[in-house]
């Protein structure tokens, strides 16, 4: 009897990683992609003028590039760091903030007094960073980013931040000496080290997906959304796409967790996942004359004076993303679906951002060349306290043995590309073991 295939849903980095692994192990599979091309969050494109737009990740680690065999066609990212705008002054993040006495003092105080109850993000940040740093910087940013009050967010929001101060200082130092952007806080599955730094594939981030898809093109079905996953007796038995039912041995889904819950029929195990929320975001990529309009690659704006909370001038890290003498600033605006920002047209949104940017960048209006807006209803998972126990349960698995939910959206986790790769690989490996 021929073995039933495993259905993989979504041809982004996670789906393709799973597919490539199954291909190597000679396990039959079919990869269903709803869109007309592969890459998902890892897609990128270049316009006629030479500006590059990356939808999700801007750079990847050299370790991931090495694993996929594309490292020779990547450029090292030489510099990456962040700053915070407070009271009209910019401070390097995080250590520059120590120049502000009240930040340092309250930080020390919180360290000495030990940690109290840390059930909410609010308490977590206050006890780790001290009240001043938490209330003036970390919490406003977390709130703008997630669209929820810090007291309603679970403390696990904080755990996605980089480890110890000593390690961060060491890696920052290594970054300076080696003249390349050593990864700090970008991987949790494997240890960080001075030998792991950011790179950018010459042809864009989608290069990674192209490489993974290289040998399995005939197994990828484009324009094929999965309408239903059929479960019987707590086991996935089939999927339905374009009205056709396909018997399967398992499903590896990269669909956003609540959507997976909606399309899975014949079980109530995923019922509680339907309430998980994502933060919709609008990213306005604004093109300008000149370079170095921001003090550093990222500028955080925690004071609530602007409609946006983060500005990124990626060309300071990766000069090749814009034509020479020009630059692009990405403006991150947290929003809700169908609100004023969400529905505003591209030109108007550009003008709107420009009005505010003019307060930070002198002559911004004269330098402005136009913009390109990207929107996503599912940019970041929001870790609300109200469904924290369900989320923790979901971290362990879907509750259905032969149904995996992987990838950034599938796991409902704030994880970067390399971790997506390792986690997907590990879960797929375990699934293959289970099925054999």
């Amino acid at each position: 009897m021929e073995q039933k295939p495993i259905a993989i849903i979504g041809a982004g980095i996670a789906g393709l990683t799973a597919a490539n692994y199954l291909h190597q192990k000679n396990v039959p599979f079919v990869l269903y992609e709803a869109g007309k091309k592969i890459a998902g969050l890892a897609s990128s494109f270049k316009d006629d003028e030479g500006f590059s737009y990356d939808f999700g990740a801007h750079f990847v680690t050299n370790r991931l590039a090495a694993m996929l065999g594309v490292s020779g066609d990547c450029k090292p990212v030489k510099h990456y760091s962040e700053t915070v705008l407070l009271g009209g002054k910019t401070y390097a993040y995080p250590f520059g903030l120590m120049k502000i006495p009240r930040m340092t003092l309250s930080g020390i105080k919180s360290r000495l007094s030990g940690n109290g109850e840390e059930k909410t993000a609010q308490n977590w940040f206050r006890s780790r960073y001290g009240k001043a740093l938490a209330d003036e910087v970390a919490l406003p940013l977390i709130e703008a980013w997630s669209g929820a009050k810090a007291e309603n967010l679970s403390s696990s929001v904080g755990e996605s931040l980089p480890g110890s101060i000593a390690k961060t200082i060491y890696l920052k130092l290594a970054s300076k000496v080696l003249k390349r952007a050593v990864c700090i806080g970008y991987s949790r599955e494997l240890p960080e080290s001075p030998n792991v730094w950011h790179v950018y594939p010459n042809e864009g981030v989608h290069t990674l997906c192209d490489k993974l898809a290289e040998n399995i093109k005939d197994k990828i079905k484009l324009n094929s959304p999965i309408e239903e996953i059929l479960v019987e007796n707590d086991k996935v038995v089939a999927v339905r796409s374009k009205g056709v039912t396909q018997a399967v041995s398992a499903v590896i889904s990269t669909a956003p967790a609540p959507i997976l819950a909606k399309i899975t029929k014949g079980t109530n195990k995923l019922e509680k996942i339907k309430q998980f929320k994502y933060r919709p975001m609008t990213f306005v990529n604004m093109r300008f004359e000149g370079r170095g309009l921001l003090p550093d690659v990222v500028l955080w704006l925690p004071e609530g004076k602007f409609p946006f909370f983060r500005l990124t001038e990626a060309t300071l890290s990766m000069p090749w993303l814009a034509p020479e003498g020009k630059t692009m600033i990405t403006v991150d605006i947290g929003c809700e679906k169908e609100d004023e920002i969400w529905t505003m047209d591209n030109e108007k949104l550009g003008e709107f951002c420009l009005e505010h940017l003019a307060k930070i960048i002198p002559n911004a209006k004269e330098k402005y060349l136009g913009c390109h807006t990207l929107r996503t209803p599912i940019s970041y998972p929001v870790f609300l306290k109200e469904y924290e126990s369900e989320r923790l349960e979901f971290e362990k698995g879907t509750g259905i043995e032969n149904l995996l939910s992987v990838g950034r959206n599938g796991e409902f986790a704030h994880i970067f590309m390399e971790d997506v790769y390792w986690r997907t690989l590990q879960k797929t490996r375990e699934l293959v073991k289970l099925l054999s």
Partner: protein, 335 residues
């Protein structure tokens, strides 16, 4: 590094020349692989690095460590079609000559001869010895010059050039690989696999093949880089000399080597560590290269730098006494 370790691959290089595509890409063509000892693919990346020594490509390579047996292996690794590129004509295994390496060559020859003779102590007058991957016959010549004159000394190598050179110097060398040759079974009392196993694609096929040509109770001595060593521990993130990116494909600790040997039809007679300064020197060399140190400083850490080789020999002697020397030497007995 030994002058014989490359030669087993000349055959592959020849194939590579035929296969190599005309179009030049920056990335090497890489293929992924599993642990050759336990066939598992459940492994962690332990090191990330480049070809710091020869810069044959600008790829970054990953050294994985098998969670089951501890074998460290290069994954993904260059495909056979890339051999010509990763072993350039300047590769030092080609010319470890007295003229080129002078004093280092002299010292090493004497040390190596002593080490080999200790391993041959119990052999009788009629003993037959085989060196697998013997290259131009460096070790066999040492045995001929310093050992028992009645021994039969033979080598096996896949390189026609190496075989020719060895035969010219009066050493009998067969053309072939361990898995593919015309050597009679149950023939040899002792076989050597010296700093070769780390370059081999499938040690799990090579060891059983060697086992077949040994006499019952015949022995195989393997010498290879030790991943249970202090130099590995300190430099494993990327600069460790033993990685020799991207040319060392399988690197062992005691456990992995023991497991492989037992699976291949051997009993372990002894596993010990041996002193070597090379990985220490190259670990520092690689760190200096990566941090853009001045060339004169980098030059103090190569196979030609007597001072650093001397210092690290002393250090490794101490570590070897503690069972943590830079090389691993296993004496295996045909079961």
């Amino acid at each position: 590094m030994e002058n014989n370790e490359f030669s087993a691959y000349i055959y592959n290089v020849k194939q590579a020349v035929k296969l190599q595509a005309s179009a030049k890409k920056n990335s090497l063509e890489l293929v992924s692989t599993d642990c050759c000892v336990c066939c598992s693919d459940d492994a962690n990346v332990v090191g990330i690095g480049e070809d710091f020594e020869y810069r044959t490509s600008n790829d970054v390579f990953a050294a994985m460590q098998c969670k089951t047996c501890g074998l460290v292996y290069l994954n993904p690794r260059p495909s056979i079609a890339e051999f010509e590129r990763i072993y350039p004509p300047t590769y030092h295994a080609f010319d470890f000559s007295e003229e080129e390496f002078g004093f280092v060559h002299k010292v090493r020859s004497r040390l190596e001869a002593n080490r080999l003779l200790v391993l041959c102590k119990k052999l009788g007058d009629d003993a037959k010895i085989l060196d697998v991957g013997c290259g131009d016959g460096f070790h066999l010549r040492l045995l001929r010059d310093f050992g028992n004159k009645n021994w039969t000394l033979e080598g096996l190598d896949a390189s026609e050039k190496a075989v020719e050179a060895a035969n010219k110097s009066g050493i009998k060398v067969h053309l072939g690989t361990a898995e593919n040759n015309d050597l009679p079974e149950n023939t040899y009392d002792l076989a050597f696999l010296i700093q070769t196993i780390e370059h081999i694609e499938k040690p799990n096929e090579v060891l059983p093949a060697i086992c077949r040509v040994l006499k019952p109770n015949g022995k195989l001595v393997i010498v290879t880089d030790n991943t249970d060593s202090l130099d590995f521990k300190l430099f494993k993130n990327g600069y460790w000399g033993g990685y020799h990116f991207p040319r060392h494909w399988n690197l062992f600790n005691r456990n992995a080597l023991t497991t492989l040997a037992e699976k291949s039809g051997f009993k372990i007679e002894k596993i010990e560590t041996v002193v070597s300064p090379v990985n220490w020197v190259y670990s520092i060399h690689n760190a200096l290269v990566d941090t853009n140190a001045p060339q004169f400083l980098i030059n103090q850490f190569t196979l030609k730098s007597t001072i650093s080789l001397g210092i690290f020999t002393v250090l490794d002697i101490i570590l070897q006494k503690l069972g943590r020397g830079a090389l691993l030497r296993a004496t295996l007995k045909k079961a």
